[in-house]
């Protein structure tokens, strides 16, 4: 298991060092600094073995988190734990920075003592941790016996992510369907690969211990219902608003630990008792029938050895009534660029020498429109034999729909012990599609 956990600043100075196992000595702290942080070469692997000691590291801004072990540990678990550790710290004191870590080092040690015992990760749900690691100087006598046992049963219990006795005057929930659409297109406009990775993020402000059931236009469910002829559920409580006839094929999905996986496996229904506040209910991936919100048509011409002519057309491909925002097209330029002249029909375009790219920004663009940019790039003559690699043209944008076609069909809330019903809960749904890695080769 994890033998020790160290946090370093960018210079390699130790900010936090917690050793869990006897086989990890102080020299391990230095070994990582010398061999990884101060290494001349770029890091070639997130797992490093130095003198029979394995180091796992992740970086957050310029802070290094390293877990150390001498055993054959579960590597995936160690990384998951490091990410979790980052989440917990962020939930407690915000951004992970040298200053924040130094200011909160007592808290971090307390957390490390709690969420890692002898190198075994323990309950690391912030919701539960915040009930008893508070840095408020709680005096143990001040808690009542009931409070204490409530804490311990939550930390160790089946529903470790939610405490009992939550009360809201207004029961409300927000559902965000956040998708990032990824594309790799050939210069000829052929889709080389495209997929949507989506997340359903939920903010719940619900009283008691509510049972929730979430439904979407999952092809498998819809097909099953179609056969059975029972569509009442689908018709009754539609949340999406728009026509949800069409169903989508989900390649794979993963769920927050609150979702009953065995129930999903057998009935494909998503039921759970949600954590309080914001959390990620599920992640999914689709590859079929993706709506690609933009098409990029590049045209690069080399005029002699010292000039390039670039023309890029973008076309928006969605309902004219919808508006895309924060559109940015990034056209890479060769390293030996000496000057650039740009003309664009819409938005603003600038050559950024430090980033070796022309950045073209458009604030808003409606569906079924097109726009274009043309640029002349002057090049310095070089004797470099190597050809310019022509990195792909990339795009960023945000659209108010889900490119996968996913629709939320319902989210039902049952709380049998308290007197509010599904109808009393105020529900909000929002769809945001963003560009992931959206590239067109040129």
């Amino acid at each position: 298991m994890i033998g020790g956990l160290f946090i370093y600043n960018h210079k390699g100075e130790v900010l936090i060092s917690r050793v869990y196992r006897d086989d990890i000595g102080r020299n391990a702290v230095d070994a990582f600094r010398v061999n990884v942080i101060h290494a001349r070469q770029q890091v070639r692997s997130p797992v490093t073995n130095i003198a029979r000691t394995s180091f796992f590291h992740v970086k957050r801004s310029n802070i290094w988190l390293a877990a150390v072990t001498k055993q054959n540990v579960n590597a995936a678990m160690v990384f998951e734990f490091l990410y979790k550790m980052c989440d917990v710290m962020t939930a407690y004191f915000g951004k992970i920075s040298e200053e924040n870590i130094k200011n909160n080092f007592v808290l971090i040690y307390e957390l490390l003592d709690e969420i890692l015992d002898f190198g075994y990760p323990q309950n690391s749900e912030t919701g539960a941790l915040k009930t008893f690691i508070t840095q408020q100087g709680i005096k143990s006598q001040l808690q009542t016996k009931e409070e204490q046992s409530q804490i311990t049963s939550q930390v160790t219990g089946q529903i470790g992510w939610r405490r009992e006795g939550i009360k809201y005057r207004r029961n409300e929930l927000f559902l965000d369907v956040l998708e990032s659409v990824n594309l790799l297109m050939s210069p000829q406009g052929q889709v080389l690969s495209a997929h949507v990775s989506g997340r359903v993020v939920m903010k719940s402000y619900l009283s008691g211990m509510p049972e929730c059931k979430f439904g979407m236009n999952d092809k498998i469910v819809i097909d099953k219902q179609g056969k059975g002829g029972t569509t009442d559920e689908a018709g009754k409580s539609e949340l999406g608003g728009s026509s949800g006839k069409q169903s989508i094929a989900i390649d794979d999905c993963t769920f927050h630990q609150c979702v009953r996986l065995s129930k999903f496996d057998s009935e494909r229904s998503i039921s759970f008792i949600p954590p309080d506040g914001e959390y990620e209910l599920m992640r999914y991936r689709t590859t079929k029938d993706i709506i690609l919100p933009f098409r990029v048509i590049p045209l690069v011409r080399e005029v002699g050895r010292t000039k390039l002519e670039v023309k890029v057309v973008i076309k928006s491909n969605f309902k004219p009534s919808l508006l895309a925002q924060k559109i940015e097209v990034r056209i890479p330029t060769p390293l030996n660029t000496s000057g650039v002249q740009v003309i664009c029909m819409k938005g603003k375009a600038k050559y950024k020498a430090s980033e070796n790219a022309i950045v073209w920004k458009i604030k808003r663009m409606a569906g079924m429109k097109e726009s274009q940019i043309s640029a002349e790039i002057e090049l310095l003559p070089t004797n470099d034999k190597k050809k310019w690699a022509r990195p792909p043209i990339s795009m960023n944008f945000e659209v108010p729909f889900a490119p996968s076609g996913l629709k939320v069909r319902y989210l039902k809330v049952f709380e049998p012990k308290l007197n509010y019903s599904d109808h009393d809960v105020i529900k909000w749904v929002r769809y945001i599609g963003r560009s992931g890695i959206y590239e067109t080769r040129c």
């Binding site: 002898f118 309950n123 080389l192 065995s262």
Partner: protein, 940 residues
Amino acid sequence: VKKREIFELKAELNSDKKEKKKEAVKKVIASMTVGKDVSALFPDVVNCMQTDNLELKKLVYLYLMNYAKSQPDMAIMAVNTFVKDCEDPNPLIRALAVRTMGCIRVDKITEYLCEPLRKCLKDEDPYVRKTAAVCVAKLHDINAQLVEDQGFLDTLKDLISDSNPMVVANAVAALSEIAESHPNSNLLDLNPQTINKLLTALNECTEWGQIFILDCLANYTPRDDRESQSICERVTPRLSHANSAVVLSAVKVLMKFMEMLPKDLDYYGTLLKKLAPPLVTLLSAEPELQYVALRNINLIVQKRPEILKHEMKVFFVKYNDPIYVKLEKLDIMIRLASQANIAQVLAELKEYATEVDVDFVRKAVRAIGRCAIKVEQSAERCVSTLLDLIQTKVNYVVQEAIVVIKDIFRKYPNKYESVIATLCENLDSLDEPEARAAMIWIVGEYAERIDNADELLESFLEGFHDESTQVQLQLLTAIVKLFLKKPTETQELVQQVLSLATQDSDNPDLRDRGYIYWRLLSTDPVAAKEVVLAEKPLISEETDLIEPTLLDELICHIGTLASVYHKPPSAFVEGGRGVQHKRLPARAGSGESAESPDVGQAVSAVSDAPPAVIPSQGDLLGDLLNLDLAPPTSNVPPVPSSMQMGAMDLLGGGLDSLVGLQCSSLMVSSVLGGAPVGMPAGLGAAPAVGGGLGDLFDLGGGVGVTAGSYIPPKTVWLPAMKAKGLEISGTFARRSGVIHMDLSFTNKAMSVMTDFAIQFNKNSFGLAPAGPLQVLTPLSPNQTVDVSLPLSTTGPVMKMEPLNNLQVAVKNNIDVFYFSCQYPISLLFVEDGKMDRQVFLATWKDIPSENEAQFQIKDCHLNSDAASNKLQGSNIFTVAKRTVDTQDMLYQSVKLTNGIWMLAELRIQTGNPNSTLSVKCRAPEVSQYVYQCYELILRN
């Protein structure tokens, strides 16, 4: 730390004000973190321990854990508080005390820990119990005996049935860890009842607990395929968990238990389909996890290629992927490349070859070459892509391209040689040994088509001694090839290189190779031509395959560091912990080999299988005898098999293999006959050379003196009663590569017998008399005559039952008599049945695992060397040997006269008379006969 600072802290620690105290402890911890020694403050800090402020208490505990070991006597001061805290009404305090106490590695404290721990293990609060469970593991790490004596292990086992899932999970984790250091303790007594409890807890505990439980489940071996299936069914829902580690651990359990499921089961197919999507999803995790996932997918793709064969696209490299992710993806892309997706793959690889990172670009170029070799239809496109890349003139791209083009030439001889001219243009820019060696090989191999081959090679010769060994060896071979092809113009050149290699070099490999060429050329140029210009075996399609037993072991370690390093835990874990070798469970029903309808079919299946040769590096024999060329990535010596055979025959005394005889006797004569013509005068080193050759022979034979094959005693095949007074007894033997039927004819009748003749019925392996039966006639009453009848294997074939049954008809002047006998199948094991190690590896992997049969060989008291020696006498060759702890694993190959290869793994445990034999063959019905031979040979 400055004295003043310590002094100030001391004062603050002893302050009356609580806030000041707390601040002081914080300062102490801060100093401790950065590595300053603040142990001098021990008593003062411990004094702060008795507080009702939890936060302060935790800080003091942190300090204690760090320094108690260096101040054991003073640490005792803390015991009282711990014991008191363990009785505290607040469960959080009780747990904190027991958790911290376990981290203080001081013997005296451990003694005091036992009682509180016992109470805490049975505490009413689950939080305390789950902490106490881990504490048992801590205590075990400090003093294992104490834990056993105190009976904590039993209490821990009871916790597996606890009502709280987290307690169960921690108890499982603790027990698993303790069990690792007691391999044979049966501590984790996993039975269907406990498994059921674990599966129930799996649905309810935290994500981390699920990992502990799944990792523990993976160590269980279900009793049969039904239990295996029911566990799989309960584990599959975990594949949708958001935590990648839970997913990977579930994949591990499924991959392992799947081994036991019959392949024709519907559920087997369903399970295969269920595995792909979660594996793909892992690739959208953070980059570090992607890396872990990719390393594991690499293993999974080797073990079960069918799972991800349609998922090529997800392994396409993204521009912003970290380099470690890019390199791993590339590896998997090559493995998944097939005719169906090759166009896409090539287009991608071409893109990658223009990227910035040098390692990545090199690997991409090499991948293009691998595609050409793997998918024949794409070879032409690959070659033209490589030529385009060479035109870029980017130095490392050119060099890498030349290295792979050489492999393509090997795979498709006489197809793409038109590009040689382009390659030659780049000769000057090559500065890496591997590329230089590859280019030299090309020049030597195609010397007859390159007009100025001599000039090109000569230009390399100038700096001969500055070249690396690889290039020197290659240059030597290439010039000899050139000489053999164009003897008239290049005599001077070859003289020059031979003297450079033999006289001016202190590299023994180079010298030896030089001498061998020298002698070959000076004694028999025709033989030299046969050796040096021999046809080369094909090269394999797959590279870098992991050895099958290691692969199986790594599959059992999916998700762990071992799967990331692709090494068994023993390679990187110190001490005994966690280094037991894990094995995949055997498929149900292995051991009985399934009947296949027709041997003929199976035989043709074998001969259809393409010969696969994978480059071998570090193979001593290969290096020494590699008369041809040795860029380590591409080829295997063309001659060794015959050389080897010659060598063995020399020692065994039977000189009969044609090629072997030729070249071995040739070499021996040159050694024994002193310095042959043309040898440098100063070669007083002849004995030394002889010794060297002797070593070579030793290697070839594996063992110096080989035992002869085992010949069973004669048995009566035809009793006199049934054959009108003629009794025939006999046995079979294989002598010097020829099969003999040794027969004794006894005349028990009253009259003389004459006119003997023999005939065989069609049989499984086409055995037939190679000549007429030579019986001295007449056979008078009571006379016995022994006849040895040579047999051939070219007769008509028909499958017999049993397979080794032979029906014989013997005729004499009285009548025709029929009898049947069974021959040991070892009769059919041919002398050149030693497979190259790498070929062995690839073939082993290639043969589906349902063709594997396992047998027990009982009461065999031989050690592995003796066994190997004995088996070799019967042409069962040991290809490689691996020793793991006390177990020796012999990897052996056998070739039958009809070309069927049998691969076997023999596990011999020191001191254990029972060994395990696993036999893999494309014609599995032969396996049990091979097993019989093993038994026969090893027991006699």
